[in-house]
């Protein structure tokens, strides 16, 4: 097994939003810090750094994941999707993003990226969720501005209901 010294930087190569990108990371560098400060993908936000608030949620190899609980080096070679990769191919907001805008599902927008990523994955697995299922899914996210109601409505609207 490869042993990496604690202060030794490793090259980490990822596929982020369908593009191959790489940067350097010490073993202890959190994936959030790598995405934001090494790759310049500031759309992923850090709200608690202990895995509770959900703001940093991204999709890693098809699983919605708290990126603050991952080290960058653990993700070498993996496929990531972040909020920067959500828009439709023509560069317009996708249906979920549009629904968030139309329903007022965001205010300060700090928690929004994480919620969008969880909701994206959730709707893939459960394309026609009911209200309680949406609320239940949202229990993994803290939003202090909206009171959640408009987020629930937006996700239901995005699901075509």
């Amino acid at each position: 097994m490869l042993r990496i010294k604690s202060d030794q930087k490793q090259r980490v190569t990822l596929t982020v939003n369908d593009k191959t990108v790489s940067g350097f990371a010490q073993p202890r560098l959190l994936l959030t810090d790598f995405l934001r400060h090494e790759l310049g993908l500031y759309g992923t936000h850090v709200g608690c750094e202990h895995g509770v608030c959900g703001a940093c949620t991204i999709i890693i190899d098809d699983v919605a994941t708290r990126s603050c609980l991952r080290y960058a080096v653990q993700c070498d070679g993996m496929k990531l999707r972040t909020v920067e990769g959500l828009e439709d191919v023509d560069g317009t907001l996708n249906a979920l993003q549009k629904a968030f805008n139309e329903n007022g599902a965001l205010q300060c927008g700090f928690c929004t990226a994480g919620i969008l990523m969880s909701a994206t994955k959730f709707l893939q697995e459960n394309p026609k969720p009911n209200r309680d299922e949406v609320r239940d899914m949202l229990s993994g996210h803290i939003c202090r501005c909206t009171g959640y109601e408009q987020i629930v409505r937006a996700i239901l609207q995005a699901s075509g209901q």
Binding site: E87, N103, F110, A113, L116, D136, S139, R144, T146, V152
Partner: protein
Amino acid sequence: MLETETAERWIGARYPRKEDAALLTGNARFIDDLEPVAGIRHSAILRSDHAHACIVSIDTSKAAALPGVHGVVTGAAVADTIAPIPSAVRVPIKFYPIAIDKVRYVGEPVAVVVAEDRYIAEDAIELIDVVYEPLSATADPKIAMSENALLLHDDVGSNVVHHRTFRYGDPEAAFERADRVVKLDWRYPRYSSTPMETYGLIANFERQPDRYTLWSNFQGPFILHALMTGALGVPGNRLRLITAPHSGGSFGIKQAMFPYMVLLAACSRVLGCPVKWIEDRLEHLTGSSTAADRADSVEAAFAEDGELLGLKFDNVVNVGAFVRAPEPASVYRMHSASNGCYRVKNIAVENRLVVTNTTPIGLNRGYGGPQFYYALERVMEAGAKELGVDPAEIRRRNFIQPDEFPYKAPAGATYDSGDYEAGLNQAMELAAYDDLKAARENARSDGKLFGIGMAAGIEPSGSNMAYVTLAQTPEERAKAGGRSGGLGTATVSVDPSGSVTVKTVSTPAGQGHQTVAAQVVADALGLRPDQVDVITEVDTLTSAWSLASGNYANRFSSVVIGAVADAADKVAKKIKLIAAENLEVAPEDVELVGGNAQVVGVPEKALPVRRVAAQTHWHPAGLPDQMEPGLFETTIMNPEMLDAPDEQDRVASAVTFGYVFDLAAVEIDRKTGEIEIVKYVSVHDVGNVLNEIVVEGQIYGGFAHGLGGALLEELVYDAGANPQSGTFADYLCITAPEVPELTIGHFNTPSPHNTLGAKGMGDGSSMLAPIAIANAAADALGTFDIELPLTLNKNWAAANGLPYARAGSAKAKVGGGPREADNFEGGLTGDGSVELSAPPEEVWKLLLDPDTLAAVVPGCEELNQVGEDSFTAEVTIGVAGIKGVYSAEINLRDKIDAQSLRLVGKASGALGFGQGEGNVTLEAAGDSRTRLNYSYRANVGGKVAAVGQRMLGTVTKLLIGQFFRGFDRRLKSSGAGQTSRKGFFGRLFGGRDA
């Protein structure tokens, strides 16, 4: 070419927000996304893990020597660089943003490390060796104000740092003629709106020209700029504050980052480099700011017919360890509206501010409102019960009537407009109140705990900066010179291309200021909102700003938007004048519609607004006579009613007064204590609605905050003032499944105090939901003697007539120095027993054998005997992902050979400290076996207590189990101990300390 010909009105429309696209695509930039200056270094702050202690020494040498560390700044260096931060009240307290020789709360900054990156900075703070001499501490204001309490600030001579009484009307006579007097007293818990984005800033000191620049997510009020320049010792133009384009929530909390701005500015100066600091969540939950917890009481005098004759408020505010500006404002924000929605004229108020060993308080959504309404709206409900009238009816009987507006409140507020009874009636209808009461009867006849509660309140918005000076006596105010006002500023400009830009200096954190300002300006200029760009951030060197600038007290829709409308109006007038000359008509005949300046009634006679506006830049000589070139209009307006307080302590504290009426119905499960909100209705008067999406968002959001305060959220301190809620697993924010369905109603009365007829409305149910729900719970439980948050344990106890665990009920020891392990209330306790495979004599021997113990104590690195019955140990223990080395001292007491002993110990490390004691007894269990019984109790402080509270009990049990398994193995293999004696329970206490 003409752009469009349809006249549209944007204000009031359900216009989706302009801000959203950037936020939904990851393009919005927050403070941690900015690198505004080259050469930024990163900082981490070492914080006190003691609630109260003298700093004996700080050794930073190891930290400074760590590769990558640029420098370490301690309180001494800061005190050499800056002056104390001025206070809003005259008290002899030197408030520095870092501890100088004493720490007064857990989380108070002690040293700042600046390094290449945050990781190294955090490594380095663990290498700083601080020796503390602990003092007794309390988080409880009632204890802190008692006679023998240890003082936090010796020079004040008391922990009560502010005390004033007020009288309006004739309260004594009112109470004398009352038929009924109702009194309640209670604790209001400490909680916070915890924005998802924590504090963040970059501080840069330039030696030439001796100027500080701070980029931050500070929310204002910018009156605090004056305090910062006071501390930094520079004129206003040498402290440049720039706010980030986006802020991840503020709710008032980001007001209190100004001491950190001063601290990091000082660090930048001391170390000669730009310094960045991004607060982490633990820092936020222990070292930022919170709403006030209070220990209040209220008395209400009623006539038999339900008329409210008089009110007496006795407010005890736990202000935290310092009176950080703008405190004591939290207890004065509602003061001039102490009558609430009612016609009562006779009011007495007594305010005391008490310092305790807790985080200083500050602005938080509803600022002082929840605490005030917890008094007023519960005593109204209690009065209704006492008089046997319906709680809705007692409010109806006392409401200010629609024809009484503008209404001059006894303590000085001028209510602009309202129809409180109509709002109540609408709520009754939306709630189907009669059906709800029938449901209550049914539920009760089935033995269920079902209750209905309500709360009514006005929502003051657009603060008068002068209300804070109520903290001074009229004489002191006269001496200090006049204070009044709450300036709103805005700039509307059109550049040479004809594009419109608005500057609001309103530092929003999600309230949609860009959208609403664009709607207003679009209406004035005949454009679409997407054609108007809005810049909301502040740059104190380039913006038109004033003391009241910022985002707080619902001031955007009550004040700022008026300034925006005014500036847009000036621009529109100028455009009309130019167009009139070009179109050869009178200016009154020109209207701005659909992107054009056109002649009223002759739409084909028109010029594009863009072209007319551009003329002011491209062809000034062709402008009408006397007209100034360019289009750049700034409005600075002061709402005229915002005067200075008068000699009777009356002040018009705010510009607009919205209204909220909330009704809740709850059912409490007697078996589990679970509280279900069966119905929740909230009716609002927000004046004219500027944007439905924004208004609705504020109402839902405010409701969720109120719900959090009612049901879950509390920043808990133990009896030794150690914070216990350092993570979002301990501080429980409301999440989606806990939010019940909310029925919203509106009964809007346009405000005459605002050009657009709008009112401030951001606090809403954050002020009233805690009270409506508390009233409903009181109705369900049959007692007002309850306390928020209504957690399962409390509800269950109340439902079953059992002792009630209250905020502030922990009895900490006060006075004198701390004694060894003298105070365990609220601490960690446990007991158990194990059976061991040797007779008591052998167990005893082995138990006191240092080598054995060193081998079997989990994580023991070293164990030494330092005296007859004294030992030291180094133990590594991890709790909740926090692993650290602790140095323990253990003493054995009351030894009775082979029978029993008592251990007293303490341990400390970079991650926390603890003290405790344990008792061990041995008894023969036949067949050469021993039954060992143990019990322990301990208090734990520091980071490990704040983040690991939930795990401490479990970890302790795990470690004890691990210890005895190892010990028993050793017993079996060795058969007997060796000779030396040791403190075995070092591990045990290390364990709980860990």
